[in-house]
Symmetry: C2
Subunit: 434 residues, 2 copies
């Protein structure tokens, strides 16, 4: 489908100059942005004209860290610190299978499409289920089957083998929208051998290697005790640090560790709401990372520790947390929060999206420019980051194909997803409503 987005009230381009355009048209051909001009004339035989005079057009958001299927566990065991919470969650996760993961991920895709996210980076189990769900939804995703051994040799072999099987199969499928990543869970759950085999896999297929890093002080203390060095130094020693490495959370780091991440061109993903809810104490040192050349993007983490996958809410948490904890209202600007969720993420995961720019894939969303949350519409970027929620989104498209149009889902049947999801939850969690 070729589209002409006509008379866009505002386009937040996220191009190099961060231009915000008023009353421009966007021509999309073969899934790519071909022209951005005023008053484009196009043959209506070749192009469907979409009236955008009440729309804000902007790049679709990229959720750089989540565990999508954990929608199944939304609201489960809140208000516990990370380690206790993980133990509770692991008990339920032991009952998971591919079927549960598929429907959990499908519900996550539904929430993400509705709230303007076009692509996400997943780390979870039974990733075949996730793959099927993502394919049904039409979204983009990077799927990382969690690799974890708890320092048990047998478990390591099984986990690495399963990940390898999934990753190699997915590479063969050659799906432009669904790509694998190599996802060892964390240094405190993975042996050095596991990390080295993960690194090999990442190098062999030129894949990103994503991992939780320095999320809690406990993890850092554990690392100091076990390896007599800090986490980033340990990863350097094992040879894991390179431009393929993406570190989730990245909270309890020294300046020296951050400089080291910059030198190795490691990327970082900030998950402020999850960090706040799990009371990790630390916050990502955005200023130091920027100064050290660490590219930072944004993620919601799973629906069990957030408990929302709405990237609009996440941008606000990111900007406000940085301002507040550094006692500096200019610490992270609205523009910088939006960058994390768009262009930074696209660069980090080598996507040709994240901006409304000629030559980019048309992974775009539209917001209702007359939504009460967005009035007055004087400062579009401010409104997007501080005022909007995902509920302002009316249209979500990947490669010029609508996944949601004027509020209606086109790829997913909402009622069916909800029904199937409800049944799965009843099967998985044996608790009434509280």
């Amino acid at each position: 489908m070729n589209l002409l987005l006509k008379d866009c009230r505002v386009i937040v381009t996220q191009n190099r100059n961060r231009d915000v355009l008023e009353n421009f048209d966007v021509l999309i051909a073969d899934g790519k942005i071909e022209r951005i001009e005023k008053n484009i004339e196009a043959d209506s035989k070749d192009f469907e004209v979409v009236d955008c005079k009440n729309k804000i057009v902007m790049p679709g958001l990229i959720n750089s860290h989540t565990h999508a299927a954990m929608t199944l566990l939304r609201g489960y065991r809140d208000d516990l610190p990370l380690d206790e919470w993980l133990n509770e969650v692991w008990k339920v996760e032991a009952k998971l299978n591919e079927k549960f993961v598929r429907i959990g991920t499908l519900m996550a895709c539904l929430e993400m499409i509705k709230t303007g996210t076009v692509c996400f980076v997943d780390m979870y189990y039974f990733s075949e289920g996730a793959r099927d769900a993502v394919r049904e939804s039409g979204m983009r995703a990077f799927l990382g089957p969690a690799i974890i051994d708890l320092f048990d040799e047998e478990r390591k072999e099984k986990s690495v083998k399963e990940a390898k099987r999934f990753i190699e199969a997915l590479i063969k499928e050659n799906d432009e929208r669904i790509k694998p990543v190599v996802s060892p869970h964390a240094i405190y759950t993975c042996s050095e051998d596991l990390l080295l085999e993960s690194k090999e896999m990442s190098e062999a297929h030129n894949l990103k290697l994503t991992m939780h890093l320095s999320e809690t002080r406990k993890e850092v203390c554990w690392c100091m005790k076990k390896y007599n060095m800090r986490p980033v130094d340990y990863l350097e020693k094992t040879g894991l640090l390179n431009e393929r490495f993406v570190a989730f959370h990245s909270l309890w780091l020294t300046k020296e560790e951050i400089r080291k991440m910059g030198r190795y061109k490691v990327g970082a993903v900030h998950c402020p709401a999850s960090n706040m809810k799990l009371a990790t104490g630390g916050a990502l040192a955005y200023r130091e990372m920027r100064e050290s050349g660490v590219l930072v993007s944004l993620g919601t983490d799973g629906a069990c520790s957030n408990n929302s996958l709405d990237m609009f809410r996440e941008m606000k948490f990111a900007a406000l947390l940085q301002k507040w904890f550094r006692w500096n209202a200019g610490e992270m600007l609205a523009q910088q929060a939006l960058d994390m969720a768009t262009v930074n993420a696209a660069r980090l995961f080598e996507l040709n999206t994240g901006a409304v720019e000629i030559g980019r894939d048309a992974d775009l969303i539209m917001l209702d420019a007359t939504h009460y949350r967005l009035l007055p519409l004087k400062h579009a970027v401010s409104n997007i980051v501080y005022s909007a929620t995902g509920d302002c989104v009316t249209d979500t498209m990947v490669k010029g194909e609508f996944l949601m149009r004027d509020g209606s889902l086109l790829t997913l049947d909402e009622e069916r997803v909800k029904e199937e999801f409800g049944k799965a939850v009843e099967e998985l969690i044996d608790e009434g409503t509280k």
Copy 2:
């Protein structure tokens, strides 16, 4: 109108036991909750039956601190610290009049009704405009014309006189839904004489006295320098502290000041998003306040420093900020955040609302229990605080009268409000879209 809310999927009662009920009915007669039982039979001649089997019924939220008309300035001069930001804002506010305040407040009421707020506490200028807007909307409000003199005797007399005139007129109107409060702005903008006259007014009419308190370190330093004592000690000396006093923000307080607030039965209002955005650095010491008997409720502050009036978002900010900055995931539970926005606020402002309980006024809201944000619906309070946004709200009522029903506004004409608001903004702010 008498109503029978039939087969409520979940009722989050906020009663003394914080009961969460499934499949109960609620009978509302003459604006009051009369019965809460299973299978109530009522004569359909006398009661309109409302099907609630897909609804979460809960008390309407109370926004304990805002400057409603500042919707006009949403997105204006973001990312500045409080004092610089205030200077910028004051330049625009110098152009305000009753007409601007009316339409700004009307837009705020629209946003609040849509996001489940039934009552708010306002501090602003030209409060006649606010009063007219609130009356049109059908909401409840406490209106406080800001009293401020910047230590200028003439200005003091004018400001006190205007406030007195507004307050006495409003008392005479005897509107059950719209009540005055006495609102000196802050210790750093108000002379001692002004505070004393405010106190007199509050005592003469038995009204709450609301004031910004210890929002920044700068304010505390200023007070130490000018009066050689901390803000709460200064207020004690001037005789302002009593059970009528409600302190907005209340961030930079010592434990001794908090204990003093508790002894005088002073109330406090937490505004986490605004505090974070303006980088005040401090956070309300919720634990110490609770231990000292200070009743704490919740507010969004104005749409210019937040930039949202959605109390659902505010509850999440409150709980997550407390957890994160005290390094304790149990520091503020979802239940406690919900209490701040309902029962605590009702107690603080002596409202017979804030809970779904027999004898209370039926200031209720309903959420779509099938909304994707709220699935699975296993832990209703968690979902309300951590997952919901105001967009989950379908119905808002005050005293059993719908202000919004099934998503449609009944008291306000959305198109007309938006149109009038748009024109007012163009007149007030001479800037294009950025």
